[in-house]
Symmetry: C2
Subunit: 399 residues, 2 copies
């Protein structure tokens, strides 16, 4: 008997804003929720113990990075990622597709967020064919294949609660035909992923497992509504997954991104939780919660912290603690914030830590940003419960 | 009424090994104790909250670094270092002398540990005279004077419980005459330091204070027993301090260092706690506890952690977690260790974090090393209480 469940607790009248619970063997996730990125099995400058203490519900790790180092069978020998990294709560792993194609094309991460990048990242993607994607390991230079079956087997070994079908993350600057063919291939890969997931044979239990898992499909189709509809139909009616993620290119600017997400999310039922990949800006989160998104993930809260930026309420959304204007400010980042960092340290101290290149700066600021994101999601959930969503959103944004 | 006190609880028969308590307004320190270095107001990759959780009794910060950045008056405006850095326990500040002369000569830190160094550190010491030392700020290149009065005023502003007289940290490779004249100057500086400490006028209460403080004298005299005796007499009979530190050059090798410390400590009464500057090797600590040392400080436990070394019991004393032999080891650093890191993570995971350049590696390893040092000191104290010092020492070293 699976201990997985998705339940919509409340939906605002005439709106797509909803409160839900994703149940997993490692605990419940109250939605809307934010998923923090422990890409290589660590939240960079932050322990899983501190993540828990700061109300984190769920973290994700990365098939692509972990298959290269330390390898998924070593993690399986530990009894799965949960034990390897010391995290007892719910976890998700992505399929590795995003990273292969992102690192492969060198700039897809920027493109799907609508930025045109001149990234000089060395391209490691060697070939895509029906079987899968062949790429060069950034660890030892060897050529590797990642296929739907391999991705799922790796995710089985890693043992996260929630896993994702293997897809091609189509870049923005390809033509409509490429996007369509890529979508069709990703659909075939989704079927193979689910077959692998359902097949006991594909999974070697000797390598260890963290227990039962559930799988997410991914809606493709780029910025083309017709294709999005076709992919939604595929995901809702042709395959049976626990959840659905909105993937592929979301366009070249924020308006296009909102249109793609809004259109796609509105066509999805409420019978599966909906994940939006790679979004972490607080104002975007308010926007996409309104469009029916249940979970988000992004590296931004922890990455911004490492670069010296503290998340704050309001339209600007962040302040840069390396700015010398904070040198003599004897107040915390936000005197209403209840995080460890704000309760104990001034902007002046945090500025000093960055000026002195003390690693503690990164940890304290990550602490604030993690607490902040979890507090944002709780504010959103409470406002749905208390029927004052618009008021709370205004209060947050105009803070 | 001062809340400071030094009490010898127990002294082993026919030995200089003793158990004591240093009471301060911020709490008691059970001795023998280890003092961790929060040089610039942070334990590098470790929070004061975690230091507390790992049984840390006392930390120290650095007059020299903090006067340059962020400046002691800014810290005074916070109400002192305790509030600035979020540490409620006992604290010590050094006088800045060691750093000025260490950075000034470029290699004194190595020399007093008996290593001959070819350090290429840029020399910043410009001039030493009766007034004090003139040096170049490494922050903005300005020329600054540090005198006994300035050092004490800065330490008043910083507000640590225990502060130290300003001295010249005489390098090893100077001649006997230089050492003698340097000692005499340091004695004069000690008198001026104590006068400044006792003078209310020198201290501007408007700049803030963390409350009452006590001061340590420093025994000089290099490797020369006659000079050591003269400096001991000066410290015991000519000035009145709360504690005594053993400073100056301790020789060019470990045997010489032990002889200097043993000779010096044996001449000191038990009426003041005795601090040995800059020693952190566990086997050295057992040795020097036997010679009558009550407190130690060293950057090594936290620095070793940042370089990938975990402290372990036994003669070798440490293991390097970056060594690929740990890649597949599913056991913790020490399966008897009760620290957070050992209770939750394998050598394999820690190796993975270093291989992946995850900052969490430094934090988790610092956690182990801080716990380890505090556990070492507790083992020593318990063995004194339980009259099984030699047995426990053998058990530790042959572990």
């Amino acid at each position: 008997m699976s201990r997985f469940a998705w339940k919509v607790i409340k939906k605002l009248k005439n709106k797509n804003i909803k409160l839900g619970i994703i149940s997993t063997p490692h605990g419940d996730i109250e939605t809307p929720a934010f998923i923090f990125c422990a890409t290589k099995g660590a939240l960079k400058s932050f322990s899983t113990e501190d993540a828990k203490k700061n109300n984190t519900q769920i973290i994700l790790s990365n098939t692509y990075h972990l298959m290269l180092q330390p390898g998924s069978s070593l993690i399986a020998k530990h009894g799965g990622l949960h034990k390897f990294i010391g995290w007892e709560g719910p976890m998700l792993t992505d399929s590795g597709g995003f990273q292969i194609f992102s690192l492969g094309y060198g700039s897809v991460a920027d493109e799907i967020k609508g930025r045109k990048s001149n990234s000089k990242i060395k391209k490691t993607l060697l070939n895509i064919n029906e079987e899968g994607a062949i790429f060069k390991s950034y660890i030892d230079g060897s050529n590797l294949l990642l296929s739907p079956e391999k991705s799922i087997n790796i995710q089985r070994n890693l043992g996260a609660d929630l896993i994702v079908v293997f897809d091609e993350c189509t870049p923005f600057n390809v033509d409509k035909d490429y996007t369509y063919n890529s979508m069709l291939r990703s659909h075939k890969w989704a079927i193979r992923s689910i077959n692998a997931f359902n097949s006991k044979l594909k999974y070697n239990p000797k390598e260890g497992s963290a227990g039962p898992q559930e799988i997410y499909g991914i809606v493709q189709g780029g910025i083309y509504k017709g294709m999005r509809e076709e992919s939604i139909d595929f995901n809702l009616n042709k395959i049976n997954t626990f959840g659905i993620a909105i993937g592929g290119s979301l366009g070249s600017n924020k308006e296009e991104m909102q249109e793609v997400v809004s259109f796609t999310a509105s066509k999805l039922n409420n019978d599966r939780p909906v994940h939006l990949l790679g979004i972490g800006d607080p104002i975007d989160i308010w926007t996409f919660v309104e469009q029916g998104i249940d979970t988000f993930d992004c590296v931004s809260p922890t990455r911004l912290a490492r670069h010296g930026s503290a998340l704050v309420k309001g339209r600007n959304g962040k302040i840069n603690l390396k700015n010398s204007k904070y040198k003599n400010i004897l107040k915390p980042i936000d005197d209403r914030c209840l995080c460890y960092t704000c309760k104990n340290f001034t902007l002046s101290y945090l500025f000093h830590l960055f000026a002195s290149k003390e690693l503690l700066a990164l940890q304290l600021l990550t602490n604030h940003n993690v607490f902040f994101m979890n507090d944002l999601m709780k504010t959103i959930r409470d406002s749905i419960k208390e029927d004052n969503y618009e008021y709370k959103k205004k209060e947050w944004i105009e803070s």
